[in-house]
């Protein structure tokens, strides 16, 4: 099987704080990988390493058979929604047109670029919003704008950082349906701290909390929860794990409350 993303024994730290330690990951073509884990566990760092925005302290990363910097133009990146995007005066169309930028670019967008942008907006179902201000949209709509922008780059791998945080359930479902459709043409890596929403669509799950735990079926394994929430005694009853997976309440309460 052709591997799109290969990470071998990758470590990364900010100053003295180790974020990722000895992480290895192999993501085949057309995978729909959900990256889950607690906040601060290293999910976004993992994504930024793949994008070449951060350099690993140790280990090798190969994207589409190349070093990340050489492959980055073939990746589509959908960032986390932050308040900075809300205040910025820019229309949906202009936002999506950023996807046409590369090392070579024209002073103003060409007709071809505009058609590309319109095509991407159509794919994510928000063409009617193209003249709205991106900041005035709902969060779910704005995420679609960012996906359209990423699609305009014509990517082979689509990487999304927390795209559905604080989006209502209906929006979430429509959103994942869109992603499933895109998955027939491209590999998808989606970061989320929302454990179960992603897993019903994913073909593989990786849990990141300094270490990585990877499972090639779209299912959460007890050891992932152990890795992710090892010190927090949550009782979980969910699909795939119809039983108590972690320690009984009281056992580790001391740990989580100090």
């Amino acid at each position: 099987m052709k591997m799109d993303i290969v990470m071998e024994n990758v470590s990364f730290s900010y100053g003295n704080k180790t974020i990722l330690e000895d992480v290895s990951l192999h993501i085949p073509e057309r995978e729909f990988l959900a990256v889950i884990g607690p906040n601060g566990g290293g999910k976004t760092t993992l994504l930024k390493l793949i994008l070449g925005l951060l350099k690993p302290d140790k280990g090798q990363i190969s994207i589409l058979g190349k070093v990340p910097e050489k492959a980055v133009h073939r990746l589509g990146y959908v960032p986390q929604d932050t308040s900075n995007y809300v205040q910025f005066p820019i229309t949906v169309m202009d936002t999506v047109l950023m996807g046409c930028l590369g090392e070579k670019y024209s002073i103003s967008p060409t007709m071809k670029h505009r058609l590309q942008a319109i095509n991407s907006l159509e794919k994510v179902g928000i063409l009617d919003l193209k003249n709205e201000l991106t900041g005035s949209l709902s969060q779910g709509q704005r995420q679609r704008v960012f996906i359209a922008r990423a699609l305009t780059t014509d990517p082979e791998i689509l990487l999304l950082d927390e795209p559905t945080s604080s989006v209502d359930l209906d929006t979430q479902k429509a959103f994942y349906d869109t992603l499933l459709e895109l998955n027939s043409r491209m590999t998808i890596v989606i970061v989320s701290h929302d454990l179960f929403a992603v897993t019903s669509h994913a073909t593989a799950v990786a849990c990141v909390n300094r270490k990585i735990c990877y499972h090639s079926e779209g299912e959460i394994k007890p050891e992932m929860l152990e890795l992710a929430y090892g010190t927090c005694p949550v009782e979980l009853i969910a699909h795939g794990i119809p039983h108590r997976v972690l320690g009984v309440h009281g056992e580790r309460e001391k740990l989580s409350h100090d």
Binding site: K48, L51, G52, L53, V72, H73, L75, Y77, P79, N84, Y85, Q87, F88, P89, I90, T91, D94, T95, M98, G99, L101, G102, E103, Y105, I107, S108, P109, L133, R149, T153
Partner: protein, 267 residues
């Protein structure tokens, strides 16, 4: 009203207002959107360190201010680029140290009597031809760069990480912007002084932000507002015999308040 134009200092002041408004509209918009306001403040106060050092060493004050703020701005630029959690604190320290350097250097310079007040509060009524030609050069350069690299500036301002994933040299754009901010701030200090320069850089863009649909629109509107405030302030200063820099800022602040009040019912 027309008769004040017969004075050369008044014609120069109006020209300075026009040029500084163009620079403020452009630079102000970028620092507000890019959240580099504190960096601009740091540069302005570091400039005083340069003035002090220049006085102490007996070199031209303007050159001292320019080089010292350029030097410190590159350090601050590095701090902001790395996005260290406490970047604003580090800039705050540099800001204060820059200012203190200036004060101590002036203390150590015997019998120093040149108008330092004009650096603190500006003196648009005494701008020279050299000031004007420097402002003109920077304004034209800024506008040309903005036309040529508009899309790169837009994506850098909007989403640095995305820009990097498109293979755009964000680091280079960041440092060029910092250098440009540095030079601009030192020039605009001439108009409103280093203490008030922040207001002139931030008030017009923060009004314009609410009424713009694009980065270019915001830059243009900021420039127009900045010019309006500068000319009104100049008129107030002339009519009531008040300090010009402070008058300009008070007019701008009134405009800011007005725009917020007008915006209230919509929200």
């Amino acid at each position: 009203m027309i008769e004040i134009l017969q004075y050369e200092f008044m014609r120069n002041a109006i020209m300075a207002a026009v040029l500084s408004s163009l620079i403020c509209g452009l630079i102000g918009t970028l620092i507000v959107l890019k959240r580099l306001v504190i960096l601009a403040g740091g540069i302005a106060h570091a400039a005083y360190g340069g003035v002090g050092l220049a006085a102490f060493m007996g070199i031209p004050l303007r050159a001292g201010a320019l080089f010292f703020s350029l030097f410190l701005s590159l350090i601050m630029g590095r701090i902001t680029l790395q996005k260290k959690a406490r970047a604003d604190t580090a800039i705050g320290v540099i800001w204060a140290v820059g200012m203190a350097t200036g004060v101590i250097c002036i203390d150590l310079t015997p019998g120093y009597g040149v108008d330092l007040m004009s650096y603190l509060f500006g003196s648009i009524l005494s701008v020279s031809k050299i000031d004007l030609s420097m402002m003109g050069t920077i304004a034209i350069l800024g506008i040309l760069m903005c036309f040529r690299y508009y899309r790169l500036i837009l994506v850098y301002t909007y989403d640095e990480d995305f820009a990097r994933t498109r293979g755009i040299n964000v680091t280079l754009i960041h440092y060029l912007l910092i250098i440009f901010i540095s030079v601009s701030v030192v020039l605009i200090i001439r108009v409103v002084g280093l203490i008030l320069v922040i207001a002139l850089l931030t008030i017009p863009p923060s009004i314009a932000e609410g009424y713009s649909r694009s980065l270019a629109g915001m830059i243009c509107l900021s420039s127009v507002l900045s010019l309006l405030f500068s000319l009104c302030g100049l008129w107030v200063s002339y009519t009531y015999d008040l300090t010009s820099g402070a008058s300009i800022i008070m007019v701008a602040a009134a405009g800011y308040l007005l725009s917020k009040l007008l915006h209230l019912p919509c929200q």
